[in-house]
Symmetry: C2
Subunit: 459 residues, 2 copies
């Protein structure tokens, strides 16, 4: 290892490598808390240096864990004492936004928020958005195929990326950096690196697609009394708003009751007896007319008997207050301590029955268990946050079995947007067949035969 470190130092320069307490004082998970065990951290400044580092690692059989913003939630960046950490923190280069082509070329270490700001300055939008935007990097977003708040309108990270440059395990640079939407010239290689959590290659650069910056934003919270109406409302609003629906976040009564109803953390915008609450948002191109259209659509939904109650945000402050309810992670953690959280997808028609089954299963084992349900229902993705008063690994495992077995029965998936990493690897078989997992291993073997890239993650 020492010889290898000296080679890295000669390639990257003294500031390109960290060892000793410079490593152990860093973190490899979220929330950050120090204790990275890796042998060393290398910090290349560009694709060519990443390639040289990997070529040496490949020859030496040195395992590599790539680090971006370290905001992942499934242990995908965790490194053991034998691993080398490859940090992209010095790869924050960004070319000027191409306003005409509506694209931007970035290095993988650029923070998501930096791209937001550059796009907005050019009068454009980079639609991928999530809470960790200040730290999360584009490379990490790509490697995990991040989801977030705008999927219903714009899709996941996969759909925001036109080109990717990645380095394979042996140092080969695969530069698929075309800046066009349509490209059917053979296999779409960038798909290999999107969502594969650094196990098939290290993403070093990307061409991102930008969109028009919305000129209007309308937001409402509505209450409904049964689940079939929630599904019907989604279709109705999506149709009435002509495809400009940009959020359809559903809060089950369990959520609203626990987080909002007592009035301590939020002023309740609606009564707390309804079965479901939906936070609706639409973005468009004309401020005044879009507001009128949004109001008309809600009025029609009311007349059709879909809505029990509704409040439309009349100011930015009111809109922020409504979103603060949906995003009150602190409130959830405080009221459901210690929390166990899930991020799952399943077909919309099955959701309410599924949530019921999980609740029954939980309370059979832990009569005092409490659970809230909410999420991006428009994308088929919901989150469960629950507590059984324990984080004992055996108990957590029993909870996971209840949640994932019911999900497997309904054909759902155990990770909608967070990925598999280390933490969900044991449950992959609830969403994937043995043949699918075998094919994943075939790909891994073909691209990384020495298993040096993020070994042990996903599969």
């Amino acid at each position: 290892m020492d010889a290898l470190i000296e080679q890295f130092r000669s390639i990257l320069g003294p500031s390109g490598i960290l060892t000793g307490t410079d490593v152990s004082s860093r973190s490899d998970s979220w929330p950050p808390m120090g204790g990275c065990q890796a042998r060393a951290i290398v910090r290349p400044s560009g694709t060519a240096e990443v390639s040289e580092v990997l070529r040496l690692c490949h020859a030496a059989g040195q395992t590599v864990v790539t680090h971006g913003g370290l905001t992942g939630l499934v242990g995908g960046a965790r490194a053991g004492p034998d691993d080398l950490v490859l940090s992209l923190e010095r790869m924050r280069g960004m070319e000027a936004v191409d306003r005409v082509n509506r694209t931007v070329v970035v290095q993988a270490g650029v923070a998501l928020q930096t791209v937001h700001e550059a796009a907005e300055e050019a009068g454009l939008l980079f639609p991928l958005d999530l809470g960790a935007r200040g730290s999360a990097t584009i490379g990490g977003n790509i490697s995990t195929n991040a989801g977030g708040n705008s999927v219903i309108r714009y899709g996941m990270t996969r759909e925001q990326v036109l080109g990717v440059e990645a380095v394979l395990a042996d140092g080969t640079v695969i530069s698929s950096m075309k800046d066009v939407i349509k490209n059917n010239t053979g296999y779409d290689l960038k798909q290999l690196f999107i969502g594969s959590e650094g196990t098939l290659g290290v993403v070093t650069r990307a061409v991102l697609r930008l969109r028009p910056l919305p000129r209007s934003r309308n937001t409402a919270l509505v209450a409904l009394d049964d689940f079939s109406k929630v599904a019907e409302l989604l279709q109705f609003m999506d149709s009435a708003l002509g495809g400009t629906l940009s959020a359809f976040e559903v809060l089950w009564n369990s959520f609203y009751h626990l987080i909002v109803a007592d009035g301590k953390r939020h002023t309740p915008p609606l009564g707390s007896t309804h079965a479901f609450y939906v936070l609706l948002e639409s973005t468009g191109g004309e401020e005044e007319n879009d507001t009128l259209r949004f109001g008309r659509a809600l009025e029609e939904a009311f007349e059709q008997g879909l809505l029990a109650d509704a409040v439309i945000a009349q100011s930015t402050q009111q809109r922020n207050d409504l979103w603060a309810i949906r995003d009150d992670v602190e409130g959830m953690v405080k009221k459901l301590y210690p929390p166990i959280t899930f991020d799952i997808s399943l077909g919309i028609p099955l959701m309410d029955q599924y949530v019921h089954e999980v609740h029954v299963g939980l309370t059979a084992l832990w009569p005092s268990a409490r659970m809230i349900t909410f999420g991006h229902l428009g994308d088929g993705n919901i989150h469960l946050v629950l507590t059984i008063g324990s984080l004992d690994p055996n108990d957590v495992h029993s909870v996971e079995e209840i949640v994932y077995q019911a999900l497997g029965r309904h054909g759902g998936v155990i990770s909608a947007e967070h990925g598999i990493g280390l933490d969900k690897r044991a449950y992959l078989g609830h969403s994937r067949s043995p043949e699918e997992i075998a094919l994943m291993k075939t790909l891994k073997q073909a691209l990384d035969p020495k298993n040096i890239l993020n070994p042990g993650k996903i599969i």
Copy 2:
């Protein structure tokens, strides 16, 4: 071979296999004209039968060319005398549309138009659309990642597919048939089979995503006097219409002049002296208000000096007349006989310069060469149709070199939506690096080590 055919017959029944003139009277290319040379055509009825056929082929080293609707344009379905054709013509099953989840499960042999009709009957839209909709199959659309008329609004086939079932070369069934939008459970295996033209597996079933059926449609043809205004108009309209722009088809003056100006095939809706014409369309959720909004946006574009002239369709007939200009393939072929056609992508800012370079290169060799340019500019995709009065292979090759070398210089791609197949294989290197092509071969080797699936196509 005879023993193998007997095995197929016993698995598939007598109607499951065709030989002799039943094969040679069929076609394997477009336009159809008979002469399929394959040893036999097998016609399985479902995934299990496809799996059994491929298992036997794999054991025997028998090469297989899969056939869908045979509307591809790059020779991807061509079969030699040693090949077996696997036709999905008996796999036309379709489950009921799930109106709540907005999905439908189909077998790969279902025609695109059949999906359109089923979706529309359920009040929904399957947005993939192209001229060959009556014959083209979903399996073929997936295998070629088909593009078409709605990409600017909804993306290519890749973005319409939630789940895929495919059979690998050795008969293994990979069933990734989740009906959810968000699924980050390991490698997204379906991406392997989308756009790989039947070389990595045979797609047998899919879960398709449906969208709200638009309630309004507004169409206009506008004229502009320089290319920078075309690019500016795209951004302006996309923004002003709040993301509901559903077509932005540009006709260079070369097209309008040749096909429209003489008034013989079309009544010219605008004068013929403008440099560019754009066919604009927007779909939305409110008929009356969307029409007003569309008019306001065009008016504003006019006031900003972007437009030189404009006509808005006032009826379905007028809309159809405008689209008939854009879609007048017969007119193009008649006026540019014999035609040579191209389907390319490149960055929007480079397009006009590129077209100019190609024209200069062509007329230097063939002073009487004529070329028209048009296409899905909003997607970065244009078509060139030209004639040099010859289809001599050496001449065609020279033309291809002119078109693709200029494209390579500008970082464009040689196939936007048609694929590579056999016909563009020699030019793949103009759009892909040696490292990319080597990685494609690595994937092919890993998934189909005996090279039995559509051998010789793409790479």
